[in-house]
Symmetry: D2
Subunit: 145 residues, 4 copies
């Protein structure tokens, strides 16, 4: 398993008149969670796109257990439970508040597509190499940070 | 079953650099779909909140089958497959483009909460009365518009 | 002068915990106001982009006189006070609520750029032709709708 | 003068199909700039609201000189050129990219309002005390960080 964490502070713009974060804005928190998760591996999603591979979101699921509030410093935890094989990658994501309470859980499925023809493609080799050490059965796993 | 449709045009702000609607923005399309669905029944979510009942989103799921593009005039179809019993309501939602192609499917679960104490409450009576005719087994259903 | 109106309903996502529309979201209301303003002239911004001309926003100003609230059906009024000459176009925009109260005024300056080289270019001929009749000094002006 | 800086990374959601940050999203960058500016003074906007004072945006102006792109690590510089007197506060804001190029300049005017009656009120005493040292004519100013 590969797992990483990053923090994001709730903006005023992200609240709604229920005095909580609008549910649709978790898509952005999950997005930054995944991007920083890759960055912690030494990978840049921006550079990936520059090589012609894009990763559109194909499936997005979340359960909202407790609300997040304005100015909360949230922790987004992003995990890969399996090494992706093929064109599909599945992230599990969790959002915690400062007291460590779990607010939201989610699962996001993305595809690897070649931008030129929008055809499915395999996970790029460099990503595979960076991720593989975290999925050695019975082996010691590298520490994330 | 109760089912309704409404249209929404894709804003420039809602696209991203993949030249499609950012996945997180479907939360807003689904939201307006549900709100107009209630309005077509003669119910106003705004007035519901004024009576002290709020409907936070508890679960949100979507599959993105095909992308929506800038300026597309989308049709959002919103359905209740069962008459809600208790504090939980489950909407099924679909987004179609102008050629009638299905772009996105989703399921959204909301709770009825009493704002004063944030406790679960039953679906308001008025909503129940408006919806009930659509769920008479074997019965004729009223036409939506 | 060329002037047009369109309506937009406030989404829950667009409110913030001050129980009003977040000021940044007026950028989207102004955007749809401009786009529909062009559409009422028989022009499509989407098609304009397809011809290789883009219109980035260069300057954006607004005064927020009164707040807009959830579910308000707003009227966005969009005006050109002068026929653009060259690469610059300046829209004046106003937002009214259902009781006809003026909520927001704004001014938005955009440039015409050729996407291929990002160089300034003149307003496309077709747009000029459609707009010109509204700026004949002392002349009768076509009715907008 | 009081001036502070903070950083914000461009999210994918914030780009549009022009491959740049959508202009309306700068409202959020400016917002986090102001909030962190206050936090660096030891002030929390969240706590301010808890005391019954809100700060709605009354005027918002920006010039977009150069575009920001996905994943850019932007620096938002927020300045008060004058010590506010009364119910009005005026921030000057600038956005720079990682190479130090100025992308956007803006001016944002906010009012201090008492939430209970929505009446104008003076800047809270604590804020005045924290800001005053930066506006002593001819005096040494405290360093910001």
């Amino acid at each position: 398993m590969y797992s990483s964490e990053m923090q994001v502070r709730v903006r005023y713009a992200e609240t709604d008149q229920m005095n909580v974060v609008y549910h649709g804005n978790y898509a952005q928190y999950f997005e930054v969670g995944r991007v920083e998760s890759l960055r912690q591996l030494g990978l840049s999603y921006k550079e990936l796109e520059a090589t012609g591979v894009i990763m559109p979101v194909i499936e997005w699921t979340a359960k909202f257990l407790r609300p997040a509030h304005y100015d909360d410093l949230l922790t987004v935890k992003t995990s890969l439970r399996e090494l992706p094989a093929g064109h599909r990658i599945e992230f599990h994501q969790e959002v915690y508040n400062e007291s460590g309470r779990l607010l939201t859980t989610g699962k996001v499925v993305l595809y690897f597509l070649r931008r030129a023809n929008m055809e499915k493609t395999n996970m790029p080799e460099e990503m595979k190499e960076r991720l593989a050490p975290y999925f050695i059965p019975g082996g010691d796993q590298p520490s994330t940070v």
